[in-house]
Symmetry: C2
Subunit: 480 residues, 2 copies
């Protein structure tokens, strides 16, 4: 590694030194996003957007396979609609952007830029639904939403973000509950199989649930710094909104009833999760399934006979099956290029120089293990396919290992405090489920209940934080 290269790498603050700064360095230096002139709003640059497109593609296919259709509801919602569901308006009104003027005219009623679309969608559903024969309604939209945040971080918490929001109506409570859990499972499958991020799934506490929900389910991921990331939520809204919006249908028994309702969403926040679950001090490490570039080909001594020709031949061959870039820039050294592709998290790098050509081979570098091996030109196509699969699997295993190492059991409040101070992570503990206890934990430590996991363990009979009888086992953590 040459002098220039070292300097290049050292531009990223090591995560052990300052994790938030590491995060900021990585996202800026890898061209994922930029800050916009409006505080809290970000520009998603092509490299970041391409990751989102790959996530979208997977999810959109799964949504459609499970019978959902896409549609589009208006950006602006009248204040009166936002106010119809009491808990909902209380939760969202403090953080919405208000449109007060259209052109030169002051509006008779303020409109909010959608923070989420339950209200406008329920207003439309109340017009559309007539009979049980129309059910279920299985609709989704891809859009941006605005929530006026005081303190923001790119991808993790921004005043505008991209997401999808599914909104469904069902004849019975059980059907709505099944849908809620089905969509949570689609999210989990996406997180594990596509993002290579293991997640804990379970139910939110009453305090942490969505404003207006009957029950909120979540998937929680653990980041390198031991903080949790809420990576996707699915809400059983029961009849809270359908009653408030007077949505009714004529049921099989001839009676007029309110349908049962769900909503579920994931957002560009997932990209923040990918960065913080897989990244290292060289920069991004991207799972092959979402990497905008899966293979970067870097020719060495490319002015020498045959190198560029061979590199181009390889590029043409590989790009039929993989997302490949041929880095033929003339004003950068191979070493500089190596570092750049590593920093950008590209899963595989192929180096090809005059000596490789003599030996009828190339060098294949893996971003996740930093290992390099010679591969014959005949078997390179197969090797790339195999290695990309290996990397995808290895990243999930590594992330599971990291999470397991940072997951603890505690039997006392002091233990919790000690862990959070010295080696933060997920903490499993029994819990009384009382709001006052939850508030107290948060006030003393900043820790929140992440979820009551579906997979329960019996760790004792009493709540280690307040001494009352325990009702459940929960995951606790500091969170983004």
């Amino acid at each position: 590694m040459g002098k220039k290269d070292k300097q290049f790498v050292s531009e990223i603050t090591p995560m052990e030194v300052d994790f938030p700064q590491w995060y900021t360095d990585v996202i800026r230096k890898t061209d994922l996003v930029d800050y916009s002139p409006v505080k809290g709003f970000m520009v998603i640059k092509p490299y970041g957007y391409a990751i989102w497109e790959n996530i979208q593609q997977h999810l959109d296919r799964r949504f459609k396979e499970t019978g959902h259709k896409n549609c589009y509801f208006p950006l602006l919602i009248p204040e009166s609609l936002l106010k119809k569901e009491a808990e909902h308006v209380e939760g969202f009104a403090p953080e919405v952007a208000w449109v007060t003027h259209g052109g030169e005219e002051k509006l008779a009623e303020r409109l909010c830029v959608r923070p989420t679309s339950e209200t406008i969608i329920c207003e439309m559903y109340s017009k559309w639904l007539k009979s049980y024969r129309d059910l279920p309604f299985l609709y989704n939209q891809w859009c941006s939403v605005v929530r006026w945040e005081k303190s923001t971080r790119p991808f993790l918490r921004t005043s505008e973000f991209l997401w999808q929001e599914g909104h469904t109506l069902h004849e019975t409570y059980d059907e709505a509950q099944d849908e809620t859990i089905q969509m949570l499972n689609i999210y989990r499958e996406m997180a594990e199989e596509v993002l290579a991020i293991p997640v804990v799934i379970g139910q939110k506490s009453e305090k942490e649930k969505f404003a207006g929900a009957h029950a909120t389910y979540t998937m929680e991921a653990l980041m390198h710094d031991g903080k949790a990331l809420q990576a996707g939520t699915s809400h059983n809204l029961a009849q809270h909104f359908t009653t408030a919006f007077e949505i009714t249908f004529l049921d099989r028994d001839g009676e007029l009833k309110h349908p049962y309702h769900t909503s579920w969403g994931v957002s560009t926040r997932l990209i923040g999760g990918v960065i913080m679950a897989h990244g290292d001090n060289r920069g991004l490490v991207l799972p092959p399934k979402i990497a905008p570039t899966q293979v970067a080909i870097v020719p060495i001594a490319s002015h020498k006979g045959g190198v560029m020709e061979k590199a181009m031949e390889l590029y043409s061959k590989l790009k039929e099956s993989f997302r490949v870039e041929l880095d033929d820039r003339e004003n950068y050294s191979p070493g500089w290029k190596f570092n750049e592709w590593e920093m950008k998290g590209v899963p595989l790098r192929i180096e090809i120089g005059p000596k490789d050509i003599e030996n009828n081979q190339v060098m294949l570098f893996r971003r996740d293990t930093l290992e390099k091996e010679a591969v014959s030109l005949e078997s390179i196509h197969e090797a790339v396919g195999q290695q990309l699969e290996d990397i995808q699997n290895n990243l999930l295993l590594k992330a599971m290992k990291m999470r397991d190492e940072k997951t603890y059991y505690v039997k006392s409040f002091d233990e919790l405090k000690e862990i959070m101070e010295k080696r933060p992570g997920f903490v499993k503990a029994m819990w009384c489920e009382e709001r006052s206890c939850e508030d107290n934990i948060k006030a003393e430590t900043g820790v929140t209940v992440r979820c009551i996991p579906f997979q329960q363990e019996n760790l004792g009979d009493s709540c280690p934080f307040c001494g009352k009888p325990a009702k459940t086992m929960a995951y606790f953590a500091k969170a983004y």
Copy 2:
């Protein structure tokens, strides 16, 4: 046709009786859109949105093939940025929605909901661009925009619409001009090959060009009622915005220069064009390439042995290659279903009943010609593929014929007036290119200059409207 069926069809007002009402009836009865509680804002329902997804898919592929990348810029633009380019703010300020409050707080500076994104994108480009080596910038975004319209019609003119906006920077004027024309040609190709709508391409007059543009190019389509639809525009913005936003780069010669700039967009308005170019008194007629459902299978006497089994077998076979629906609803008669699928513009319908099964055949109905023929079960897959191709081609030919029949030459102002009164359409005429003449034509007849086509004809030496020397041949029409 039974009584119930006749009633069904007659719910659409004939286009000869009242074209605007025909349009409104079609879009409502076919479940493409609905009106939202905010005036001028529409909900795009799944059937309408699926058409947009098919258009998006084609364009997105073509954009990427020509080197463009997607990204996402913020929804909200500070007022000060909107004001930087003088002509631009004059054009757009009267029709933007203003955000004045974020949560409980009044904002220090008003933010407009993007009506188009030149200003925010140029602000970012000014940070990103350093050297000629960075050029060209070839970026696009898919999003919604808001323009406060006084009078709206679903798809054609709404206060919010979905679109894509490409924004590129180039080293030279010629490169920017080439890009502008390349993107116009991609739009034309999409209109003709995907939407089956023939278009006239050319340049907008000074009066009609985009606010802030050096030159605007357009594609103009003719609707059934003889009115023109501006279906897509591509702007050469030269250095207007790059100067106002102080975007500079270090050129090959070591000098700091302003790059050349383009932008181009098409929107959900295209769906309005499809409706009005192909629809008839039975409802929609959709080109197979964008039809959400290409083939509807309707079983007849489905309670009889073997019918449903055969229909399901056919469905499984066809859905591997086509977008197929099996209409197995029990509470509707086959005749009712026939009408519904016709109204929804589905290109092909397959009818299958006990007699057909005896004869080892199905009936294949074409929406565009209303012709029905028997097809053997062995050759149905091939026949469907062939017929869909035929329909796609036939729709373009029909639309070309319609347009040609409604395209006229005029040599006097009186002729123009007579045509617009009796048989409106495209009018080709020589023109002086003077603003006062253009204003006068519009004031007297409501007709505007649609474009100065690339394909010129010499129809004389003087302007038939004002008598001054003619500079060019232009297309005139009333327009949406």
